[in-house]
């Protein structure tokens, strides 16, 4: 709605310029009010009358939040993380986690508006690291760091019940089905690529792409671009059948959390005490985050496994270099997200007759009378500056692929059914399937009511 109104006002302002009702600067002010429609006053959203000498007032920037508002949210984040960790690890209560999920969704999502969110704070931090002049508030740094610290101790309890993006997907996950493991492995690389892309664009000061393409922010705000609303709705509908699609296949912060989660001091366990390998839980996780017991490969296949690992280790640097080369090729396409580049291409296309008419941006540019060379110099500068980040991005993608291939070539011994620490979001769905948990909850008196412990693989009791 706001976009539509903005476009209407933009068009209206152009008409005003043409008929000379207002000075150019006023029209530009109106245009700018349109671009900042969300922050402009309501009066700015209403087109001014044609036939008056109405002067468009100066738009007031929105009043800043009270400083306590940011700290309140940091405090609530700490409380929510603590509760989630307690419910997941100590209380082992899926119901409590779900209630906390709803509360987080309401507060951090619908009331807080999902901004600045922990996921988006990656970009603030990246920009803060790359640009010494960037003012990054302490509260934003804490938003970024706190979930990482909690994950280092308790696993991904942030994802379990605190993150509003995860919460809204958890709520709609009514009939999740399991995604084939091979597909899960492949798509699981996308968040790392997205993370690299987001960091590159943030450090270059081009855009905060995580925010721009966040499918849930328009839902939390009940307003936004139609395309993003449809995207968000589609992700939610998909989330009914595929558990947490955004978290698993897009979320860049999830990719970050996977690293400390592997080293978490305390992590959720499926059985409350000892695993009896009854296999009741093995298909209970809709996110494919339960690992079966496994033994090292048979002795006769070990040489082949070693050779495979050696080949992949040799291949790894080649993948990184090849990725860097591909990234270099993508320098110019990647730089196109920069607005100067898009504007220059548009202006050039207009000049050469490839397109007809002007956009608001190109018209504004021409109205300034600025030499085109300056714009082109800016394009050349942007493209030059993008060269190294593009190579690094390509190298990063190659590294991610190489590490994944190597990890899939290594067998680890596991005695019990365990959550995959990198992928487990500590949601607690698997608890209920464990006979030990059912005993703990008093639903049954003994595990033998469910499982025949005499059978070699703990088959179900008849």
């Amino acid at each position: 709605v706001i976009r539509e109104t903005r476009e209407r006002i933009g068009g209206f302002a152009k008409r005003l310029v043409r008929i000379g009702c207002v000075r150019k600067g006023r029209a530009v002010a109106l245009l700018t009010a349109a671009t900042g429609a969300g922050t402009a006053r309501a009066a700015d959203l209403i087109p001014v009358p044609d036939f008056t000498e109405y002067q468009v007032p100066v738009s007031m920037p929105p009043a800043p939040d009270h400083v306590l508002w940011g700290w309140l949210n940091v405090g609530l984040l700490v409380v929510a993380l603590s509760l989630a960790s307690y419910f997941a690890l100590v209380n082992r209560s899926r119901r409590s986690l779900f209630v906390l999920t709803i509360a987080s969704l309401i507060w951090f999502g619908f009331i807080y508006g999902g901004c600045i969110c922990v996921i988006g704070s990656i970009q603030n931090v990246a920009l803060g690291v790359s640009d010494a002049n960037y003012t990054i508030p302490l509260t934003v740094i804490l938003l970024f760091v706190l979930p990482l610290v909690f994950t280092l101790f308790f696993g991904r309890t942030f994802c379990a019940a605190v993150c509003p993006l995860g919460a809204i997907q958890e709520v709609v996950a009514v009939r999740p089905i399991r995604v084939p493991a091979w597909l899960d492995h492949a798509l699981g690389l996308v968040p790392y690529i997205y993370l690299g892309l987001a960091v590159i664009y943030a450090t270059m000061g081009t855009a905060f792409v995580i925010c721009r393409y966040d499918p849930f922010i328009p839902i939390f705000r009940l307003s936004g671009g139609v395309n993003m609303l449809i995207f968000g709705g589609a992700v939610l509908v998909l989330g009914i059948f595929i558990g947490r699609p955004y978290c698993r296949y897009l979320c860049p912060y999830g990719a970050l959390l996977a690293l400390p989660s592997r080293a978490a001091k305390w992590h959720v366990r499926i059985p409350p005490e000892q695993c009896i390998q009854c296999r009741l839980c093995e298909d209970s996780c809709p996110y494919g985050a339960i690992q079966r017991p496994s033994a090292p490969p048979p002795r006769d296949s070990r040489p082949a496994a070693r050779r495979r690992l050696a080949v992949l280790l040799v291949l790894a640097p080649l993948l990184v270099i090849g990725g860097g080369g591909l990234g270099w090729l993508l320098t110019i396409p990647l730089a196109r997200l920069e607005h100067d580049v898009r504007l220059a291409e548009r202006v050039h296309a207009e000049d050469t007759g490839l397109v007809e008419g002007m956009t608001d941006a190109s018209e504004a540019f021409r109205n300034t009378g600025q030499p085109k060379e300056e714009l082109l110099a800016s394009v050349a500068d942007v493209r030059s500056r993008f060269r190294l980040p593009a190579i690094l991005l390509g190298g990063w993608v190659g590294l991610v692929v190489a590490v994944k291939l190597i990890s899939l070539a290594v067998r680890r011994r596991r005695e019990d059914y365990q959550p995959d620490r990198a992928r487990c979001v500590s949601c607690g769905r698997c608890y209920w399937y464990c006979p030990g948990e059912q005993v703990r909850l008093g639903l049954i008196d003994d595990v033998s009511e469910l499982v025949d412990l005499q059978k070699p693989e703990g088959k179900l009791a008849s």
Binding site: G38, P57, C211, G224, E345, A364, Y433
Partner: protein
């Protein structure tokens, strides 16, 4: 009420809520399409009356009629906006009800699984890892092909570095094209040869001062309570624009008007540093006045 009856109740209610949400979503989309198509400011009646008023600006009856039409069109527009706002809440309620009841139904129907016996000869992890490696390799291959295709398919005539820029501009000049818009072209020397543009690495743009802006005197006084640049800079990280895109709201107005430096008010990036923000937005003349 038995467990099965509760499940039936929850399931049916979830379906009803889901259908309701789907109907509301359809109506909202329909309403949106209609609002986009029927722009009140482009209504034929409105445009016709506007033209009549232009031709006869002193006609008070026409003015009154125009005002009435304008008001009516605006009322209709905002009525639809109001409808959309209510519809959004109804959609949210319907979707939330459907999800909650659906989850309840799923919980009531939850059963412990009956795992089939496994073949001891099978090595599921080896199979998973092997298919996983192939899937990752395929993904990497697809990404590489996509990158090459993007490179091959992306064509830009614009220069990629300063050397290319100089050559490009020289080429434009020699071919007689105007390389400058709205300002004189590059100066030619007496012999008629084109002076090549010397392109240096761009520096950080200097913060404009009031002296740079001859039009500053015409600008309106800032309203009371207008935040200072420092306040804007400090609070900037809290704002990412109305659609969460990181687009800076309210940028470039005054710098545009003052005209010495180009500013793009529509697409000025928002994810810029505080210092850059000050220079890009360029309100120092206002600050000076303060």
């Amino acid at each position: 009420m038995t467990r099965w009856e509760r499940y039936q109740l929850a399931f049916r209610c979830a379906v009803v809520c889901g259908v309701f949400a789907a109907v509301v979503a359809s109506l909202l989309l329909l309403d949106y399409g209609r609002r986009v198509a029927e722009d009140p400011l482009n209504a034929p009646e409105y445009l016709q009356l506007k033209q009549q008023l232009r031709d006869d600006p002193r006609n008070e009856a026409l003015q009154a009629e125009f005002r009435a039409l304008d008001e009516r069109l605006r009322e209709a527009y905002f009525h639809r906006r109001h409808f959309a706002a209510w519809g959004t809440w109804l959609l949210l309620a319907g979707a939330a009800g459907s999800a909650a009841l659906g989850k309840w139904a799923a919980t009531l129907r939850r059963r412990l699984p009956h795992p089939e016996p496994v073949d001891s000869q099978d090595d599921p992890e080896e199979t998973t890892n092997r298919t996983g490696r192939w899937a990752v390799a395929v993904l990497a291959g697809v990404a590489a092909i996509a990158a090459v295709a993007l490179y091959a398919g992306f064509h830009s005539e614009l220069p990629s570095d300063s050397q290319q820029l100089a050559a490009w501009i020289a080429g434009q000049q020699s071919s007689g094209q105007t390389a400058v818009l709205g300002t004189p072209t590059l100066p030619d020397d007496a012999a008629g040869t084109v002076t090549p543009l010397t392109v240096t690495e761009p520096d950080v743009p200097a913060v404009p001062t009031s002296a740079d802006h001859p039009g500053a005197a015409d600008l309106p006084e800032l309203p009371a309570g207008f935040p200072s640049d420092e306040e804007l800079r400090v609070n900037w990280p809290r704002f990412r624009g109305w659609e969460g895109s990181g687009t800076c709201p309210g940028t470039g107005v005054d710098a545009m008007e003052c005209g010495n430096r180009r500013r793009n008010p529509l697409e000025d990036r928002g994810s810029v540093a505080g210092q850059q923000f000050a220079s890009r937005v360029g309100r120092p003349h206002l600050l000076d006045r303060r």
